[in-house]
Amino acid sequence: MSQTVAARDATAGLFGEAELRRIAQEALRQADGDEAEAVVVARTLELTRFANSAIHQNVSSREAQLQVRVVRGKRIAMLTTSDLGPEGIARVTRSASDLSRLVPENPEFGGLPDARPISTAPSAFVDRTAATTPLERARLAERICRPTRERSLVAAGYVSTTAQEIAIASTRGVWAYSPETRANAEAVCIGDAGSAWAERSSIDVARVDADGLASEAIAKCIAAQSPRDLDAGTYEVVLEPYAVNDIAAFLGLALTGVAVEEGRSFVGGKLGQRVTGDVTIREDPFDPECVPRPFDFEGQPSRAVTLIEQGVARAVVYDSATAHRTGAENTGHALPPNSFLSCTPMHGRVEAGDQTREELIRGVRRGVLVTRFHYTRWVHQLRTIVTGMTRDGTFAIEDGEIAYPVKNFRFTQSYHEALAGTLGVGRELHLFAASEFGGVSAIARRVPALRLAAFTFTGTTQY
């Protein structure tokens, strides 16, 4: 079998700041309205997916979108195109301009935000991530698949690399540009009667430890075979970072100005009050170990915000529209314009504690170790009640040690009430950078393992 290994230029497929500025400025120049904004997101997303320990889907897509908002008084029209050529720019700006004459006024609209100084953040772009070839990704996948095959186990997961550019310009003088890369690998290791999970993310593909991932998943998978029945009920738990990431994601949806405004946030009317146990959650756009970006999708400077400090609700994040409606200060956390969600923490961090994973487990007399959650959904957003399943490595803990694997649980639990019983916080933070929002790699998060006093499992399944 012949292999053609083409070295790749890290900038291949990128537009670059000058070209994106030209595209955005051209859109603004052609827009016919009181003011206008152009958001350009371009990325090359490449993902090598494997199952049954072999690659079965292996894809590369070069994607770009130009989103133009034209404002006429309090009338706002937004159009998006994937065509960044002259015809596409002309079509989208003309259509947005025409539409801005037709749409009804939104009396709550406060105008596009002014340009504000944007601080410098550490670079989130690593050349070798952008330059990763299909063969290099396949070899990383094989470093996960091969050891599982050697142990008569099965691996399924993916290795991906993404190079993305974000640019925002407006007639109010806004200009913001950031290139960034993300490399992710994740895998479930499956045996005859049990499975286990591991994942790694970094902006630098060289820091994605495929061997470590494979070792973690294989060792846990071997321990997870032949799970026993354990009755549903309320247990003390140790949650691996994979599970904690889900809690941070859901609470992030509630730690926003719009959630407070609409009466569906657990911190609504409770800033300054204790809402959880001793955990601290921050939004830190400058975290060099995350995917730093110092501005939001309106080109506004993103502030570091302490959301919950040792259990006390301190603040929520805002975009310009929500800040205007509620009289708050814009923190610079607007998502790409969409119909569903205006703002959210995009660089959340549950602060590390001082305990190793083993120390967290050692403190539990009788409890459950959860590797990750599956298919989690709001049951009651105001009370942060979420239901979901455990998956890929659930174990009973007895007398401070992992005792035996157990069949998966369904849980129905208020997430912030679970954090009220925080007994320990892991000292290692795990980066999660794979999530997407509207076709854009917008959100990343770092979280530790947690030991919680009470977590309610409301059902079981058959495996």
Partner: protein
């Protein structure tokens, strides 16, 4: 760009792929135009029009798969992307345990078009938005709501598919969806009612006639009143087993989650194990496993009028088809593509679908529907029920990675006492194990109460893909169901 011009570029990509060593190749060009409009609290919150155009090339080379896509539509890019797809396939081959094989299919040739009564793109923008504003206004005639929303989506998609086997087909799809929602907050409670279904909107392959059919303005005051009433409604009975009658719009989601996904053969064969999961409906159970009671009949049908999974050909050129997934309660059919169908010794029933040009096709639901029974209307079914709960419109949904343990919440419920609806209950939930739950189904309403719903938000695959799937359902009754998980 015309289909003819796209065809020239597609043929160029096919030639390049074959020259580079591909033993199979296909090319899709997709142009998608979408308009999403949301009215919130009486004001136009967002107007988002988008157009997206690009192409994807899928190949087999060295016995393995590769896929590449781009939004740059030029001859040079057609060559680059095809060559990249082959390079990717060759990289895939370093892990292969066998060669990719495709079950035979007659090359697709022809055209398909969604029939619409009112082309939504031909209407004026003011007319479309005006109907939303009227519905939103009608909700806000009810005092005490925190938030009201009304939204629509109109969708037009052109698709050209060519393959190295000689397929060449053009398709044009229209979709229209709409919905309204009222939210009330008070005393630590947050309650939502939406119409005609949950999740923002229901959608069909249809024109604007689909919006008119639902009479959003006429139903708005009822929805708003129910949202307010839920704040002081009694809680759902806690952790009891009882009879539940489930509305059509909730039961369609139950079908989607507990039948539609587990009959995906890629899941059953492990292809989705890391993300969506696998399936309890393993191939050894095909034709032998009792999925539900004899009242349960579930059909796979990509020809159903209005269904979001209705088309001429799927995204590997297999024609639309119809067949059974569950017949008289027995599990008898999968959703398949050419590769997985071949693996179990049959032919594809045409369920490969991709979310636009930038994503590779994967097995997706088309229209997976619970077929009508003989229980009459919803009123007849309730009249036939002595004691239990009627549960309506989804609020929460979750199911395990083999699709066994599920838990759903609905926006609203009512007690059923002696064949009549009684008190309203809030925060209802129900949970169970899939085959036990469907095994407890003793009645499904008749054709008169059967509705083709559409879920425009089904997630699957990595990179993530959102698919629009169709599900017909009529209300059904289930015995001895555990309800009231949330206190």
């Amino acid at each position: 760009m015309s289909f003819a011009a796209q065809r020239d570029l597609a043929n160029r990509s096919l030639d390049t792929a074959k020259t580079r060593g591909a033993t199979y190749a296909d090319v899709r060009y997709v142009r998608r135009d979408v308009e999403d409009v949301t009215v919130k609290n009486g004001h136009l919150e967002t107007v988002d029009r988008s157009d997206s155009f690009g192409f994807g090339v899928r190949v087999v080379a060295d016995g393995a798969w590769g896929f590449a896509a781009s939004q740059i539509v030029t001859a040079a890019e057609a060559d680059r992307v095809a060559a990249l797809a082959v390079e990717i396939a060759r990289a895939s081959a370093i892990t292969k345990t066998g060669d990719a094989k495709l079950a035979a299919v007659k090359p697709a040739r022809g055209t398909f078009r969604t029939e619409v009564e009112i082309d939504p793109f031909a209407m004026s923008f003011e007319d479309r938005v005006g109907e939303l504003l009227e519905a939103d206004d009608a909700m806000r005639t009810v005092k005490g709501l925190r938030t009201t929303r009304a939204s629509y989506e109109i969708w037009r998609e052109e698709k050209l598919f060519l393959s190295s086997e000689g397929a060449d087909c053009e398709q044009l799809f229209f979709e229209t969806g709409c919905g309204i929602a009222a939210e009330a907050v008070g005393d630590g409670e947050q309650q939502l009612r939406s119409y005609p279904s949950a999740g923002g909107r229901s959608q069909n392959t249809a024109g604007w006639e689909y919006v008119r059919k639902w009479d959003l303005r006429g139903n708005a005051p009822r929805i708003a009143t129910e949202a307010i009433a839920l704040l002081s409604a009694k809680p759902c009975p806690q952790d009891v087993r009882t009879t539940v009658v489930i509305s059509s719009n909730q039961l369609m989601l139950q079908v989607h989650e507990s039948c539609g996904h587990p009959i995906e053969l890629d899941r059953a064969l492990g292809s989705e194990a890391a993300f969506a999961g696998t399936s309890f409906l393993t191939p050894d159970r095909l034709g032998t496993f009792r999925y539900g009671s004899e009242a349960v009949n579930i059909r796979i049908d990509s020809t159903s009028p209005g269904g979001l999974g209705t088309f001429g050909w799927d995204d590997e050129g297999v024609p639309a088809s119809e067949g059974w997934a569950v017949r008289d309660g027995m599990f008898v059919g999968y959703l398949m593509n050419r590769e997985t169908a071949g693996a179990i010794g049959t032919t594809s029933n045409g369920t490969m679908r991709a979310d636009g040009w930038a994503r590779v096709p994967i097995i997706r639901m088309t229209n997976v529907s619970l077929m009508p029974g003989s229980a009459g209307t919803l009123e007849d079914l309730i009249a036939d029920t002595d004691d239990g709960l009627y549960l309506d419109t989804n609020r929460s949904w979750s199911i395990d990675d083999k699709r066994l343990n599920f838990q759903f919440g609905t926006q609203i419920g009512w007690e059923i006492k002696n064949g009549k609806l009684g008190d309203m209950v809030r925060n209802p939930t129900y949970t169970g194990i899939t085959p036990e739950f469907w095994g407890s189904c003793d009645a499904v309403c008749s054709e008169s109460d059967w509705v083709m719903w559409g879920t425009p938000n089904c997630g699957k695959g990595q990179p993530g893909q959102i698919m629009h799937t169709g599900h017909g359902a009529a209300p059904g009754r289930f015995r001895n169901v555990r309800v009231g998980v949330v206190k």
